[in-house]
Symmetry: C2
Amino acid sequence: MPFASYQDASLRQVELRDTVLAPRIRTALETTIPSALEKCRVTGRLAAFDLTWKEGMPNCPHIFWDSDVAKVLEGVAYSLALQPNAALEAEYDRLVERIASAQQEDGYLNTHFTVVEPEKRWTNLCTNHELYCAGHLMEAAVAGYEMLGKRRFLEVMCRYADYIAQVFGRGEGQKRGYPGHEEIELALVRLFQATGERRYLDLARYFVDERGQSPNYFTEVEHQNPFGSMDYFQADRPVRELQEAKGHAVRAVYLYSGMADVARLTQDESLLQACQRLFQNLTTRRMYVTGGIGSSFHGEVLTRDYDLTNGSLMYAESCAAMGLVFFAHRMLKATGEGQYADILELALFNGVLSGISLSGDRFFYTNYLEVDDNTQVYNAGAKERQPWFECSCCPTNFCRFLPRALQYVWSLGANEVRLNLPLANTLRNEWGEFQVEGGYPYQEEVRITAKTSRPVTLSLRIPGWCRHPQLLLDGTPVALPPVQGYVSLEERIWTGKETLLLHLPMPVETLHANLKVTSNAGRIALKRGPIVFACETIDNPLGVANLILPSPQNFSLTTAPGLPQGTPAIAGTAIAEAAPDPQALYFSQPLQRTPVPFTAIPYALWQNRGPANMAVWMRTRD
Amino acid sequence: MPFASYQDASLRQVELRDTVLAPRIRTALETTIPSALEKCRVTGRLAAFDLTWKEGMPNCPHIFWDSDVAKVLEGVAYSLALQPNAALEAEYDRLVERIASAQQEDGYLNTHFTVVEPEKRWTNLCTNHELYCAGHLMEAAVAGYEMLGKRRFLEVMCRYADYIAQVFGRGEGQKRGYPGHEEIELALVRLFQATGERRYLDLARYFVDERGQSPNYFTEVEHQNPFGSMDYFQADRPVRELQEAKGHAVRAVYLYSGMADVARLTQDESLLQACQRLFQNLTTRRMYVTGGIGSSFHGEVLTRDYDLTNGSLMYAESCAAMGLVFFAHRMLKATGEGQYADILELALFNGVLSGISLSGDRFFYTNYLEVDDNTQVYNAGAKERQPWFECSCCPTNFCRFLPRALQYVWSLGANEVRLNLPLANTLRNEWGEFQVEGGYPYQEEVRITAKTSRPVTLSLRIPGWCRHPQLLLDGTPVALPPVQGYVSLEERIWTGKETLLLHLPMPVETLHANLKVTSNAGRIALKRGPIVFACETIDNPLGVANLILPSPQNFSLTTAPGLPQGTPAIAGTAIAEAAPDPQALYFSQPLQRTPVPFTAIPYALWQNRGPANMAVWMRTRD
């Protein structure tokens, strides 16, 4: 199995101009990141690093607070790279100093376990999030270094990582532990890539390899087992033996991301095979049509094949969809296969973006595929995104996720530039300038030009969802189908005169779900290109549960009021059912049926025009 | 508002011969009660009354254990009345002595709070179940007295009740408390009826009236609030002000039952109005089509109008359906209105009987209306009834519920005999003999004869579900419609020569649910007479979620293998859907559709032929 070795383009090299992702990134810089930073301040998360908290004081540092600050700070680094701001940079520097000041003599850095429960340091890796927080701080430090060239934070975190490497390992006197919430694995890989220090990759590999070995560290050493089964922590067996995507969804995909990184960088085939197996199980058996994952809110877990209910029971946490993007991105880098970009794109445009409001300051933790009046019984926030949460992992994750999403647009190989997401943008690097125009992902036409100073192979991803793609180079059809999802144009010096026209037809597709997804029996989901649609009561005032969408029918494209200009909506004819007595609980009289127009909007954009009921999977009939 | 004053027939006076309830009662006597008694023995529940448990010993008496023993013992009393058994009676007497021996000097009787946490007596009425256990012991004692004339247990419990009356009340030095789990209210009413001692009715009324008054006893005196809202305990406001059926479903209907009793016996109109309001809300907005109640397994609670999902989220505890029968029975006695008998019958034949296997020794705690492979993620016992539970309220409740169900067949008024459930049976009392023949509830024809020694009005319930009933007296049509659900035949001395033929046509009805019950949109339930049907994969091996039942269609009656002789099944034509690739998670190819026969069986009888998937609400199309 040959490993691919694609690199990401730097965020600074990509100028994004599309109408879907670019505005979200802009809003992240202007709203999400500043407001999350403010939330961190007012909730005491920043002050926690002063280590002045004492018993009886308010704002006791929580075990995951450090990670929130780290994620926001990582976002600030990207923000400063994309949009320099002297005041913000000064604040960034002060905050880094504040964090550095919390570092202990030995290198340890954790606010909770320094001031609240110092006696418990490293005593409960299973649930205490210490290594998780360390990982996020490392990612933040790497971002500051890579984006801004700042070494201070990086050095602090290298010291912490070196201390962690002393504490954990297979040597005498070391703890053979690993984190209950994975994250440090992929963070150490980033630290290795930023510093070139192989020991960080080795430590990442240790955490991956040691996981789930016998005797089990959590149950046999720590005597912890809070969720009754070690598969909640992906620690029921060594990671190479994992067969199914199981347990806490975010933890799972963070681990798998770290595994994929380690596999690629150490050319570890058995580890990559495990990643491929887990990816297949996750995305072809346990993933919502939106790219959301985690079908039970009990423990926020992945459950079993085809258990994918839409409503109150489900979870599909925003962070889990982001984690799926992380995993897919790493699999794409390790294999170069377009199937991973397909899932990356699906999760990005649907299950991730649904988690944040267009205004950038409201968030879903749970991304339901169906919300009705009853959903609120189980989750008071089901119908409206919230500004913040007690456990605010999702809002802070968006701070860093969104600006970094720029890196998914292109991959760079040896002499090869690959366009993963054909969004309107310009990539400028030392080889030249690569320009993409068009309205993707909402429109079908993509126009690509390039001007290079050296011979470059230009590869274009042909999305897996596209049945009849066409590619013209200066008017001449280029032979398709693609190889592993990409079509490569022979290495050449691009003069800027060649025009590549990529036509990606986007008919409205009606998807069925496997009949074992019992709640979707008799229902269809509408998808166009990579975008999944949903019906919201805003556009369908008679309701959504009582609408039937006859299929096949000639759907047409339209717009829906109150959504960003250019957002497509799907229009068609539905049958609205009504009961003879709208109060009656059970009745045998026939339902009244009326043909009505219906409108479906991109799922990710629901609940941006007020609270509403919504459904992705709509009843159908032929 | 005039109060009715109907009495129950004594269990001993009713000889039941029908093919649905009578065999269940027989099995209760032969299997359920003896096996539950044995379970109480092996789990230490009986030995708990010896008060010998000490710290470190096994089988620590749990706070609700006394109630389990009491319910089984209540069942034993009925069993001995219906089927004398010298050995069982000797065991009964010994067990009563064992319980009596646990009574403290002051009259207190509770195993847990005598030996495990004596310092906590009466300190946490909110969650500690002391008064709940007391109530069940009282009911058991009353049953022993009424059925067998035994006074010993009754005297023990009167002493306990007198002690409770000292502790609780509005007098100086008394606690103004009331139970977190209602039960003692209706038990005290039974104690009053058995002894004629008004003080027990007064105490019942005190517990009803004091509930939810300000300051709230649970939150303000005990400082308890484990479920965040006092409506979980029906204690958020005084009971007369309750507007909606809320909180823990079993607690709710036990309270309402006690309220209805107190209202009837004290001619308390405002209290009866509250009961009527709660009954309406409960049964016309929050009840499953099977008579099951409690739509969330989070807290086993009633949630909101039209929140009635079928699968993993739901609860519909067996005890709650029994409690609905208790409530309906008391409303029937207080008002004489047939609507209450309609609900009693619905819950009895469907939501209650589904909770127990035909073999009498396996139980559902949760009575799902839909079970698929995914239900097991949330409840390992979803697909198969279990022999016992850690909290075994449902199995022990069946011990007393089933034999006592005989009393629902008839009501007795002044000079009036009312047939509530036209099951084949004979009532023999001091007025004469009343004979009912026919195959109800499975067959349409009922034949009634009577022979009395004095003038008696004979009233027959005309079920609310029946659209075109006919009644013939010696071949002559009797004028219908009925008054408040009953047709009364003029007072006369019945000679045994008159023949009443009641014809209750039972076409198969296809029911729709309110469209706000979103999971039932596009679905129908099949009902025939009072019996709700379900499709089980045993009879429908291609599956149930993928079946569509076109409607209207000519359903026919058939039988299903492995069910008791005479059990009707509904047969018809369904459309079975299949996916082109049975593994694919999402796909756009059309489904394959094949007409297939389908069979639906009475819901209460599902999972008596092995584990299976099942659905009450089936997809439909016209």
